[in-house]
Amino acid sequence: MTTTAQGNQETAYCDYLLRPGNTNCAGCGMSIALQWVDQALEGEKPTLVIPACCGIVTAGAFPTSAYGAPTAAATFASSPALATGISTIAALNEETQPVICWAGDGGTYDIGLATISAAAERNENMIYICYDNEIYGNTGGQRSSATPAGVVTSTTTSGKGERKKDIMAIMAGHHIPYAATLSVAHRDDFIRKIKRARATKGFRFLLILSPCPTGWKSEPEDSTELISMAVRSGLFPLYEIFDGVRYCINKRPDGLAIDEYINRQRRYRAVAGDPTSLQAFIKDQWHHLEGMVKAFPATDEDGDR
């Protein structure tokens, strides 16, 4: 059996959460994120629940599976419902492995929103991770309510008119114990948040901005740099919300202009050279976030941040 070094341990390929042979495009954010989730869980394997999205194609075709964990493919809107059943039975049988929903933005912001809202309101014991590529990747690149204003998709051919939905505010409104945003360009912060989510009970919501060269019309080798730019420019803030009411910002923007982020992705071609709408979005977003942090800061009891 081929083995490879992962941290200090020798791990067989078949023991990875994301195994070689998966179908992810080159430069896909899922490839980084799934490996980091695996590393943060330190060998513990979750049960995965994945709705219709690129993430289920990742597994490859039956009978092979690129996931080194038991995985259920849910209908598009149902992953938190299936996860509710799975985690209920796990609890009744005193099984402790985490149940993780792994879903795209379409399954999260759009078709699955009612199901997620209900599972969050019941505070079901699961980690819900949305890898947000801001587009319907699986069906060839249509708009979602996570698609930012200005972005060209196959259903917004002259650039989307509406702003991206604030899913974090929606989840905070459910008073779930833990919600956080994660970047595939910030490994330490990412790993810490996965561990934090793992150590928390109840409904945990994690949002990853997930680069998608195929949908973003960007170069695969630019993926992590693009996410780094999104964080530095303030477009994708890294923060945590505890119990839906206490906020903590993990990284503030360093003033990087948004122009290069736009120029390196042809999905922004309709607004090329005109960053004003994204700039206005960033400004409003930080106005809201700074206000929340000021009014409702995290406390010492919220632990390491």
Partner: protein, 390 residues
């Protein structure tokens, strides 16, 4: 065994709860619960029940009710729910998913008219909407039949030779909200009758596979063929289950169908659910007048018992099918199946009657007039609407 005067919904809720409780020695039980008239009392009963190892999850929709059942069943538990009408319509995507996953979930369908316009009364169009899903379907004519069929359903659905979900249907209000004296089973009997639920292909950490991911045409074809083969095994497995049932409960529920006085009948009428009970009285009365008439109560709709139906019809010259459901542009849905079955009997005059749609009361007089019509026919015509309100 307790003989009690209970509603159909009470009987169903009680039986589901005991079946769930009977799996406490294994991985427990779980139900997704969402209200809709006329099944609501079933999920209310389940929410009140104090399970030793089980949970009833109050979800936000029927789609998620079935989603929770799927998750629980994938995790190896016994799982069940109940719905009606638009609830079943809203659930359809996950109804298909549950069958394709091969999960032995049991769902009570309290038959109700689909809307809008809103009508809460009985019509079998809701459960028949999912006739092409990989689910067994049973239609019950009484409270006792309901209790017994629910128990049989768990046993058959969870049998490793079958591994398919099952719908147990009853008439909205006529059964769900009226009281009859029922032999309600005791927990020990149910636990003796139902082996613990073992979903062999459940999610397991020792065996990390992806269930329900991508398949190519070849595997998909195999998957469908396997489902068909399992369907074909149902009559045999059901008969075994009934034999065991009789030993434990001392009575013998109907199997795939129930034929009455068809041996020498020239005219045979087919109906399901409570219309079949009214029909039984009409047939009895007509027999007293020496009419050569018989009836078949259609009970199992999926798999459709073709061979059993042909032998039940015997040498009848005329067969009338009463449908309390309607497939627009075609006719009654039971009639469609029966017409496909009777293509092997070209000499039989088969006539469809659409009756009691939207819950109209199908009285003995109406059935009598249908039989008179059928007996006077020399050839069959398009499905006939027998309007009750007219």
């Amino acid at each position: 065994m307790a003989r009690e005067l209970v509603t159909g919904n009470h009987a169903a809720g009680h039986t589901l709860a005991l079946a769930g409780e009977a799996n406490s020695a294994a991985r427990g039980c779980c139900a997704g619960a969402y209200p809709i008239t006329p099944q609501t009392e079933i999920i209310e009963y389940l929410r009140r029940f104090d399970f030793t190892k089980g949970r009833v999850v109050p979800v936000e929709s029927e789609h998620s009710a079935m989603g929770v059942c799927i998750g629980a069943s994938l995790a190896g538990a016994r799982s069940f729910t109940a719905s009606s009408s638009n609830g079943i319509a809203y659930m359809v995507e996950n109804i298909f998913a549950a069958g394709f996953y091969r999960l032995p979930i049991v769902m009570i369908a309290v038959n109700r008219t689909l809307g809008p316009p809103w009508n809460i009364w009985v019509d079998q169009g809701d459960s028949l909407m999912v006739r092409d899903a990989p689910w067994l379907q049973f239609y019950c004519d009484s409270h006792q039949d309901l209790v017994d069929t629910i128990l049989l359903s768990f046993r058959v659905a969870e049998d490793s030779r079958i591994m398919l979900p099952t719908i147990v249907a009853m008439d909205g209000f006529v059964t769900s909200h009226t009281q009859m004296v029922v032999d309600l089973p005791e927990q020990e009997q149910v636990s003796a009758f139902l082996p613990v639920c073992n979903v062999g292909h459940r999610l397991q950490h020792e065996r990390p596979t992806t269930i329900g991911g991508l398949t190519w045409p070849r595997e998909t074809e195999h998957h469908r063929i396997e489902i068909q083969k399992s369907m074909e095994r149902v009559p045999e497995v059901l008969t075994e289950a009934i034999d065991t049932f009789e030993k434990i409960f001392g009575r013998r529920p109907a199997g795939v169908l129930a034929a009455t006085q068809t041996e020498d009948a020239d005219t045979v009428i087919i109906a399901c659910n409570t219309i079949a009970r009214t029909l039984g009285n009409v047939v009895k009365a007509r027999r007293k007048n020496n009419e050569r008439i018989g009836m078949v109560r259609a009970k199992m709709f999926r798999p459709f018992p073709r061979a059993e139906l042909i032998s039940a019809i015997g040498s009848a010259k005329r067969v009338g099918v009463l449908d309390r459901n309607h497939s627009p542009g075609s006719g009654g849905i039971f009639w469609q199946e029966i017409a496909a079955t009777l293509r092997q009997c070209p000499d039989v005059l088969l006539q469809n009657y659409l009756v009691g749609l939207g819950g109209g009361d199908v009285t003995p007089e109406i059935i009598d007039s249908i039989i008179d019509d059928l007996n006077g026919r020399t050839e069959s015509v398009e499905p006939i609407w027998k309007e009750i309100a007219a």
